[in-house]
Symmetry: C2
Subunit: 333 residues, 2 copies
């Protein structure tokens, strides 16, 4: 087996690289022609619509500078899969556009990146079908393609006054993980948080299960309130959130007593789904939850008045502005 | 109309930005849900396969550091469309992943980029359906989706001994443009070359026309010999090229007497199609050329022996190695 990397010059043979680390890396269902031509050819299912999402992860912006390639691969794919999950789509294919500096262009690095991608791709059932590698600052851009039966996609614009608001899983873990990474990266007892950061479980099966049930859905990447505000704006409604109902992991409540509620509301990187359910479909959702077929929590109600309110148990009410700059974060800050 | 950019902080409102510069920028055929949700939804044509290509353009690597945003937009889309052209695909949709430094985050820059994308997208008939913007070193990654009738895509692996080798347009213009940009950027009489660099005409209609005719096809991005070598390897054949037949623009021959032939063989960035035609279909291709419905030139023949030879008029023969490092360029050099 010839080497893909000239050790003296760090010069990579892009074709050997593709052949060894990226070709047929993943399940190849529906792939008529994979990596190796000018473009890939795939076959869409009949009666399906195609769902397309793209996301870039930059070193030091979306992951710490010393992140190993395995975790970069996992995080990049998980974050992108979360967008497909929020549409109720079944992941099928993805492309990888990779820019990396010479110092990282080693066989070990590529091997690690490809294993990270392969692990997540195998569990999500999607195939790497193409890509591009360039020398430059480290960045990973994935474009994901999924399928959804015609007119069954979950969108942001379907919430109605009276709908119940739910979130999957627990909130605040993303912000807590970021806090740990920035301030106490050696705190190994926070391995649950670090695993959440590098491989946030994309809620793909939950999204598929919510087809025909949820009236609107979004994935929480910028923070619950910031992302719920998108649903409210596009649906032309408002929302009331019950502060006491916010699902927070018991370890997060214990370890970050002061911060956990703020993180649950404003923290990014949770990658849970926030979705709305019309009253007549709520019993069905509650049944799924009781049967442990769906891990989700009701946290509030969609209102006709266009604003968001945080409600306390004691009847207190804190109105929340809907402007993006007051909520969550913006990559251009 | 509110501002997308805070002049003091250069802080961009990503949502206002999308709304103003990227939403509904382009023809929206087949788009069920465009920019603004977690992902886009599009509808594939019946009896079609989906063709997927992705390419990254980095500042100072794929375009000069002072390139205006209009030209960056045009070049990024043209280069990616060229990959679809090489498959015989009809372009439909694309996503944009943009990373840019604060100094460029101005409304004028975004306006210029979006006009460049829109101009090319309108002529190619494809729609911008999604994207992602991050702050970082300037890079533009596009993922293009096209369609081709089932089993009619042009691939690299179908060439057979005896097939005729053709190229569209003229060769060497890409390398000449790069030479002018590097050495004499003010040489305004080379406007044809600069236009070729920033908006290389993707051979989309030629690719579509060659469905059912060409036995193999590739776009020339790394240089004729480097790209023809890909066809040869995947098809397990060799090639003979008639040096005197290489199509070179008369101005290139006149202005670059010493370099033009080397550039035509080894220069990158031509974005012409190199395709092979079985003998029984050659009369059809020649008829298209005579009728001026296809601008292409026969330059040689596919051989059973696995090697490439350059033939001279006087009977001389120069054997060419097939290893990538001897041909064209590799982005990791």
């Amino acid at each position: 087996m010839s080497s893909c990397v000239d050790k003296a010059s760090h010069r990579l043979d892009e074709f050997a690289l593709i052949e060894r680390y990226f070709k047929d890396l993943t399940p190849q269902a529906g792939v008529c022609l994979g990596i190796g031509d000018d473009a890939a050819i795939v076959e869409c299912s009949a009666d399906s619509q195609l769902v397309i999402a793209t996301d870039t992860l930059l070193e030091s912006v979306h992951f710490p500078a010393d992140t190993n390639a395995y975790d970069i691969g996992r995080r990049a794919l998980c974050v992108n899969l979360s967008d497909l999950a929020a549409m109720g789509a079944k992941p099928r294919w993805f492309t990888l556009a990779l820019s990396l500096p010479s110092r990282l262009a080693t066989e070990a690095w590529f091997d690690s990146l490809s294993r990270g991608l392969a692990d997540i791709a195998a569990s999500a059932g999607c195939a790497l079908v193409g890509g591009d590698t360039t020398r430059g600052p480290l960045s990973v851009t994935l474009t994901l393609l999924g399928e959804v039966p015609v007119a069954q996609a979950l969108r942001r614009d379907g919430a109605m006054a009276g709908d119940h608001i739910y979130v999957t899983g627990t909130l605040g873990d993303g912000a807590a993980a970021l806090h740990v990474l920035k301030n106490e990266p050696k705190r190994t007892q926070q391995s649950r948080l670090l695993e959440h950061f590098y491989a946030p479980k994309p809620r793909v099966s939950e999204g598929i299960q919510l087809r025909g049930i949820a009236s609107a859905c979004i994935d929480i990447s910028d923070g619950l309130l910031a992302d719920l505000a998108h649903i409210c704006k596009l649906s032309r409604v408002g929302a009331e959130i019950q502060r006491a109902q916010l699902p927070v992991h018991p370890e997060l409540r214990r370890d970050f007593l002061q911060q956990h509620q703020h993180w649950a509301l404003y923290g990014g990187d949770d990658y849970q789904l926030c979705f709305t359910v019309p009253p007549d479909r709520q019993p069905h959702v509650e049944k799924l939850i009781s049967a442990q077929r769906l891990q989700a929590t009701a946290i509030g109600t969609i209102t006709a008045s266009k604003g968001m309110d945080l409600l306390d148990i004691d009847g207190g009410c804190e109105p929340i502005g809907m402007a993006e700059h007051t909520l969550g974060y913006n990559h251009f800050e």
